[in-house]
Subunit: 415 residues, 2 copies
């Protein structure tokens, strides 16, 4: 029997407790020993829970209990999860988490602490919910140089974009619907501004390239400015708009990493990922493109990934899993203005023919897009060549000075 | 330094030798030790190879070399791979393979032998080529009961069907093209008759359910009878025809397992998997549907999966990976005639209205499908309800006796 503790009995934590109970037999068969959930830390009371006798409000009951070998952290947020995780690892207890914010912010430090104390720190559930992704990258694709990772990493924004694309629903209505259905928080900023996707691409990049990438160093754009007009032009181009987190390794060893809405061609596997589903493409030099698809959030999918990590910790009580990345500085991340991309622009101009010429002066040849019922003073184009994003921003400024209003500016994903 | 040997320097084997050379640094970083490819067994000569001095024609040079801890078997076929693998495992050497035929035929025995000798027997590359699938099922989805696995497991047939669907190319032409491009063998039977897909669904089912499923016990149909007419009717139904290997766990613990062409609705993730790509859907009780996509064959994708397993063996020289299934009998597989499915039928009848009535007498209500330029004496329908497949076969017999010719009979996939 291996004793474990759970910190945080919210959505994911209660799912973990549930799976440890309902799947006891299967887990036993895999480990050869029983997992015993000895303590559950939460400030709230759960008198109705069948595990009511295990609850505690006192972290000391976990940290000072030498029986407890694995601690599952599903509290979320930085504090006190950060402090508790450090203290557990220092005691040689392995820690499993779904806390992407903590991993993205302090992953390198916590992995080092785990290493120093011969413990494991695992967080499969922090990216892609129930989709296996970190272990496959770390183990199955170990014989590849990962050229690029790109994914739909946030289910809330993918739900909103799907409604905009398939049902012509304006952004605000789609957001309200997502809130009604419980997919979006009352304050939706972390999702719609791209911060959640940013944490996840940071974790993926850190794992794939061995250096911690901090969210503050990643250029991040959300989907709040996407309009139904943009969705229609994307369709006429042959694609859909998706919020993509992407990271490429440049020849000089720097990372070209960004979170932004992008045009994705319908031929891409990422174009067909709808609603709250996530999809992650890993481009290896040997495997080519591999795509992982599934539910990126939700109680049981996420909890099942947490429990799988818990099983792995129970199997490796005396040895370490080879999951590690080193700390780093912002210098490993390339300036986003140097990142080359094609771009779609939607412009408002009194004379669209004149605007078309001006755009080509500044950005080289472009291809016009059309849509039904486009206003006479609207021009939509896609650049034929990829250009450094800074040059595109300069061109947008210059067009604005020429009296041409740039309504939209969306990258073309090479996916 | 960990010494390994390679048996079979064909397409996959030469890819393994290549990756062990080109990715030396990355592999070293992962293991903390160098992998040294000490011997390569092949009956042919490779004087141009940079590793020419490592080649041998004598298996004794591998089996009797105590330095060699891991043996990579990429010979394919049953003999002598089966004998060599047994002898390696008995010596306590771990074995890694891409040999799906051997795993599907003798997996339970070889896994038991590995267990008895404290060695590992790993075969990620045997299913889905470079796509991570066995390790994710075994580790990442361990906290799930797997309700169903269904996949496009053979790239050759998927290439042929894609050509039929997207380019209206008849089967024979698509097969010839696949042969020209090197996707299909001169004798294409193993692919087009479904045997290759059958071996792979057997391996997946064995792993997911812990009991060896032998290919001989699995009802297998190929794609040789699929016509362009069927492809068109599938489109009018809202889907595409794919060769699917599928396995469901029934309530009584039996497996409902089949390989057959199926109508797949366009809304399914499996419908969008084209050309030589593979896609595998795993339906877990906690995760819901998870899909894995990528190149299911090819030199470097397959070799990269073999090398990843080799790395895992090198990390676990003294311990065992928890990959195992027990032997079993045909009794774990349910009679395919009891398996319930909806079905599409294409019929030839002098009086189609009469035929329509007769079909409904025998199979309950059906929905007619239409297509442009359908001959007046053709009727295409899909049953509204799922029925035991044996009843469908009986109905087909009975229709034939009534003078109605059943041209096509294709299952509807619930995917």
């Amino acid at each position: 029997m291996i004793s474990v503790a759970l910190m945080g009995h919210g959505v994911v934590g209660s799912g973990v407790a549930e799976i440890l109970t309902t799947h006891k037999q299967k887990l036993f068969a895999s480990i050869g020993e029983e997992i015993y959930l000895k303590r559950i830390l939460d400030l709230r009371e759960f008198p109705e829970s069948p595990l009511a006798d295990r609850f505690t409000k006192d972290f000391d009951q976990i940290i000072s209990d030498r029986d407890i070998r694995v601690v599952i952290e599903t509290m979320g947020g930085i504090n006190p999860a950060y402090d508790f995780t450090k203290r557990c690892l220092k005691e040689g207890k392995s820690v499993v988490t779904s806390n992407k914010e903590l991993v993205a912010r302090h992953g390198a430090e916590l992995l080092q602490l785990a290493k120093d104390n011969n413990a494991n720190y695992l967080f499969e559930a922090s990216v892609g919910g129930g989709i296996p992704i970190l272990r496959p990258i770390n183990q199955c694709l170990v014989a590849n140089m990962v050229d690029e990772i790109a994914g739909i990493l946030n289910g809330t924004t993918n739900f909103i974009l799907t409604k905009m694309i398939n049902e012509n629903m304006p952004f605000d209505d789609a957001l309200s619907l997502a809130q009604q259905l419980g997919y979006a928080e009352r304050n939706p900023e972390a999702d719609v501004e791209g911060h959640d996707a940013c944490r996840k691409i940071c974790i993926l990049a850190s794992l794939a390239y061995g250096k911690h990438v901090y969210p503050d160093n990643v250029h991040t754009e959300g989907i709040t400015k996407i309009t139904l007009e943009d969705v229609e032009y994307a369709a006429s181009w042959g694609g859909v708009i998706k919020l993509i987190g992407s990271c490429k390794l440049l020849e000089d060893g720097m990372m070209d990493i960004v979170v932004a809405p992008m045009f994705v061609p319908c031929t891409s596997q990422l174009a067909n990922i709808n609603d709250v589903f996530n999809g992650i493409m890993v481009r290896g030099d040997c495997t080519g493109d591999v795509v992982f698809y599934g539910k990126g959030a939700g109680k049981l999918p996420t909890a099942s990934a947490v429990v799988a990590d818990t099983v792995d910790c129970c199997k490796h009580l005396k040895s370490r899993k080879y999951l590690f990345w080193a700390d780093s500085t912002e210098e490993c991340v390339a300036d986003y203005k140097l990142s080359k991309t094609q771009v779609y622009l939607r412009l408002l101009a009194d004379n669209t023919e004149d605007a078309y010429n001006k755009v080509q002066e500044k950005l080289g040849s472009v291809t016009k897009l059309s849509k039904a019922d486009a206003p006479a003073n609207e021009l939509a184009v896609v650049t034929d060549k990829a250009l450094p994003y800074g040059e595109i921003l300069d061109a947008v400024d210059s067009l604005t000075q020429d009296g041409i209003k740039v309504l939209s500016n969306i990258r073309i994903g090479n996916l």
